[in-house]
């Protein structure tokens, strides 16, 4: 392996964390950001599921990329993703039943997550399995980072808990503090994502659009 390939693998893995984040730079996968971030726990499980599905579907598509007829490639990609999503869904039902109930339909809807189709089309169809795997892991983590940040603020301000544990002390409530019910509702997820984008763009001035 040459040096050039090594560095490129590194960028493939780490670039989606911040500079090319799928959520806050490419603005993909917003729908699931709204849906699963009311609490931290389902958000983390959702993030893990997306990392797994994204990494392995990238590898599989990359392995068969030269044999897929171009005209039906989207269908092939969907079949691969759907198969993986079903496996993840069954695993969750078997080992984390409570969380799978909370996530309900959204694990199944990973199939329609724009990040997946985007990475398969843009990366796995044109790259070897190992970089594709790293790309899947990187983008999955980039997605999960935002998911967790949003869920952190929504659960903290909306329910006063984190991972289900009470963090806002009882004395606050006695003094008149009330949980913000709006944080539980999906619109606030958009506002929180917007705030993250705001902060991110202020730090990375090169990403600012005119």
């Amino acid at each position: 392996m040459t040096m050039a390939e090594k560095t490129s693998n590194k960028t493939v893995l780490f670039n989606p964390f911040s500079k090319n984040n799928p959520v806050i730079v490419q603005i993909l996968g917003i729908c699931s950001e709204l849906a699963v971030t009311a609490k931290l726990e389902p958000a983390i499980v959702m993030g893990m599921s997306v990392i797994a599905v994204l990494a392995f579907s990238n590898v599989i598509i990359s392995l068969i990329r030269n044999t897929i007829p171009n005209s039906i490639r989207i269908i092939v990609q969907l079949v691969v993703v759907a198969g993986l999503v079903i496996i993840v869904s069954e695993l969750l039902k078997a080992y984390a039943y409570e969380v799978s109930l909370q996530l309900s339909v959204f694990i199944g809807l990973i199939i329609t997550n724009c990040i997946l189709m985007g990475r398969l089309e843009a990366f796995a169809m044109a790259n070897k399995p190992w970089p594709s795997f790293l790309d899947g892991i990187g983008n999955g983590i980039g997605y999960t980072i935002i998911l967790v940040i949003v869920a952190f603020f929504r659960e903290l301000l909306g329910s006063g808990t984190l991972m289900g544990y009470q963090v806002v002390p009882q004395s606050f409530y006695d003094a008149g503090y009330v949980n913000n019910g709006l944080m539980i509702l999906p619109p606030m997820a958009l506002v929180v994502v917007a705030c993250i984008i705001w902060v991110h763009r202020s730090i990375n001035k090169d990403l600012q659009e005119d």
Binding site: V178, N180, L182, M183
Partner: protein, 402 residues
């Protein structure tokens, strides 16, 4: 006055670029133009032909003036409802007014401090003049909220609304939604238990330590709240003291409700001031009332116990709740309303229709006027676009027909 002018002139160089406090230039400018009319006008040689001293500051002050009858009545009504709630036999005028004043002043002061604070900071960061839009918003927010809204909630909602509805869009005049209404909507959806129901609308404790205290567990809902939670078999609206309420009480305004919205008489006085000074569009107000009447008539014509508010007559729909206030002071906000003349008719009418529609057919939201205005704020640009394009098409047809 002269001494003040001198003081300002002496301080001025410090705030000019290069001065000691040049970072605070916009703050100084804000105070100077607030105290004195600017001594500069547009050049006479330019393309400007109309010289008028009307500016957004003057407009805002007139709106605040138009709000004063409602504000003063709100002070009286707060005290009046409180005295009723305490079951006092006598209702002395001045103590009630003093109580209402003490109850509302901290709210007004806090909203102004939070809102203007954010405006000042943003103006410094952007190096712009301070916008005066918050003059009206700051007094509107406490007026459209229940008197028992906790102070910190008012601050949170005001800050959220000013930052996310106004400043991120570019400041005064660029907002899509009415800032004061969004503050109320944020409060309503964030803290529904504190903002609606039967505990929020009548002050029960003392105001800064003044006045009697209502008995423990005292509750009284607004008329619309009573209707929404009623069983729908009959309309029995009662005031704080258990006496039945008539439409006349709602017209005068001696009913429980948000601070400034109860008195239709005062709202009409405000409307006359606004229309007389050419600030608010009479088209929006008229068509809004028409829309409320039409929808109220339809709802009343097919009344059903399932939706108790449909038992109100169309006329009652205009009197109760925040409908009148929203139509006169919220829907007419020139920034967020439709701007084309035909568009104003459509916009106002739809605000009226949707306000009554929501309050009648969604028992969870007894106050539909707020949501109706916000919804139509979102559609105002579309209405304008349609009106402008229809006009272009009509003129093009006339042109090609020749």
């Amino acid at each position: 006055m002269k001494a003040l002018r001198k003081l300002l002139d002496r301080a001025k160089p410090n705030f000019r670029p290069g001065g000691k406090f040049s970072a605070l230039e916009s703050v100084f400018d804000g105070f100077e133009t607030f105290l004195f009319t600017p001594n500069t006008t547009s050049a006479r040689t330019g393309a400007v032909h109309i010289h008028d001293s009307i500016d957004s500051k003057r407009t805002m002050i007139i709106v605040v003036l138009a709000l004063m009858p409602c504000f003063l009545f709100g002070i009286y009504n707060t005290g009046y409802q409180h005295w009723l709630a305490c079951g006092e036999a006598t209702r002395p005028f001045w103590p009630m007014v003093l109580y209402g004043l003490l109850a509302i002043l901290p709210r007004v002061a806090l909203t102004y401090i939070v809102g203007l604070g954010i405006e000042f900071i943003v103006a410094q960061i952007r190096r712009e003049e301070i916008q005066e839009g918050f003059l009206v918003t700051g007094i509107l927010i406490p007026m459209i909220c229940p008197i028992e809204t906790p102070l910190w909630m008012l601050c949170v909602a005001t800050a959220f609304s000013v930052i996310f509805v106004k400043e991120v869009f570019g400041g005064t005049g660029y907002n899509i939604f009415n800032v004061a209404l969004v503050a109320r909507a944020v409060l309503f959806f964030s803290y529904p238990a504190q903002m609606s129901g039967d505990k929020a609308f009548v002050a029960t404790g003392t105001a800064l330590g003044y006045g009697p205290v209502a008995p423990d567990g005292f509750t009284c809902a607004t008329p619309l709240g009573q209707i929404a939670t009623g069983d729908g078999t009959q309309l029995a609206l009662t005031g704080v003291d258990g006496q039945a309420l008539s439409w006349w009480d709602a017209f005068v305004g001696l009913i429980p409700g948000s601070f400034g919205e109860t008195s239709v008489i005062c709202i009409i006085i405000g409307a006359i001031i606004l229309i007389g000074c050419g600030i608010a569009s009479w088209k929006i107000i008229l068509s809004g009332v028409a829309g409320g009447l039409v929808m109220g008539f339809i709802a009343h014509a097919c009344q059903t116990p399932l939706y108790p508010a449909s038992m109100l007559t169309a006329f009652d729909q205009l009197l109760y709740g925040g409908f009148a206030f929203a139509i006169v002071f919220m829907a007419t906000d020139p920034v967020t309303a439709a701007r084309t003349e035909t568009g104003k008719w459509i916009y106002g009418f739809l605000v009226g229709v949707i306000a009554v529609l929501i309050r009648t057919y969604n028992n969870g939201y007894p106050e539909g006027a707020m949501l109706a205005v916000l919804l139509m704020n979102a559609f105002a640009p579309l209405i304008d676009w349609c009106v402008v394009n229809a006009n272009i098409r009509r003129r093009r047809a006339r042109f090609t027909a020749k």
